[in-house]
Symmetry: C2
Subunit: 185 residues, 2 copies
DNA sequence: TGTACATCAGTGAACGCGCGTTCACTGATGTAC
DNA sequence: TGTACATCAGTGAACGCGCGTTCACTGATGTAC
């Protein structure tokens, strides 16, 4: 038997769980404070570990970033309608809780300068999002629907970026009006 | 005569020009690489000075950031139409030249975590932009026009953020379709 | 089942580097008479 | 107008700190017999 295939039950399960915890903590902290304002040591501490162990899981901080924002495996559960998604996307709750925020709205301009791996991951997520919206978008032709989907996804991200910069009154107005103008049900 | 009001002709003019050069270089470099990936020394070098002199002009890097993105004084020259502005905003040229890019599209998610001064400056710019678009936006009521303006500004920013993350084909498509979907002339 | 050995994930001190900021100094600019 | 002095913007070395990364070590996990 190839020893590489033998399972070291408990330990290997722990390793997998630790890595998952690191990725989860990283996703949360990066969204909250940006890639450059979160240290490897902080992420490890948030995952309940010490910083030295980091490099057993990832070759570098940059590699962690790419992996933390890899597209989730497609899950077959029924999803929210596009309209319901837009409601929760353009909500004050989403604006105010960075930890679970959409990565594009929380880190988009930083991601544009990120590694090719990170950008490829986020491009894939954008493709999926556009396809998802296209299925429910209004329009005569498939092309019209896709156009509406692209416009809707763009407007959601832009509105949330703005909403997190400006003062509360304008912020609330932007969320409300951007939602109302969205070409979705 | 109050000595503080006496002009030291040449020197003071140079100081003003040096400060302007620092602000200009900072704006360019920050847009290109993000706030955290540009050093004070680099900015000073780009302005033709050495790094030690920086603190004669600004109390801190953060203060420079706020000042570099302060709203320009309103200039009375005739402006582009909203449609022409949208054309150039959602162009490949704007996407590909970060140095003179719109600050929201280049730095928006970082600005959301910036100083209150920076955010106030950018909020003011957003207010102006919305007002400008409102004047030309379609709609029956003033409120409809303003809604269209908010939606348009959001979509422009979001589309440009996305266009700088994804691969070229999708990027070109996003710019084109977002432009076509814009509620402007 | 029990015992001796091997593995390796995690620990925490340490390293090296880069950055924001400070500071003593310089020399050109401007002032006083 | 000319000369002696004062000012102060800019210089560049230095400081102190924090961060990503490395590494010798540990001790629990897993293996061999």
């Amino acid at each position: 038997v190839d020893p590489g295939e033998i399972e070291m039950k408990v330990s290997r399960e722990q390793v997998v769980e630790h890595k998952a915890r690191i990725l989860e903590a990283a996703g949360r902290l990066f969204r909250q404070r940006g890639f450059d304002h979160v240290t490897v040591a902080e992420i490890m501490k948030a995952a309940g570990l010490t910083h030295g162990g980091f490099y057993g899981h990832f070759p570098s901080k940059e590699a962690l970033i790419a992996e933390a924002f890899a597209p989730a495996p497609p899950n077959p559960e029924p999803r929210k309608s596009a309209a319901a998604y837009a409601d929760s996307y353009l909500s004050a709750a989403h604006r105010d809780d960075l930890t679970t925020a959409c990565a594009f709205s929380a880190l988009g301009t930083e991601a544009a300068r990120g590694s090719p791996e990170l950008r490829a991951s986020m491009a894939e997520q954008t493709r999926r999002q556009i396809e998802r919206f296209t299925a429910e978008a209004p329009g005569e032709t498939p092309r019209d629907k896709r156009r509406a989907a692209i416009a809707a996804w763009s407007a959601m991200i832009g509105a949330m970026v703005l909403a997190r910069i400006v003062d509360k009154d304008l912020s609330d107005e932007i969320l409300k009006e951007a939602r109302a103008a969205l070409p979705l049900g």
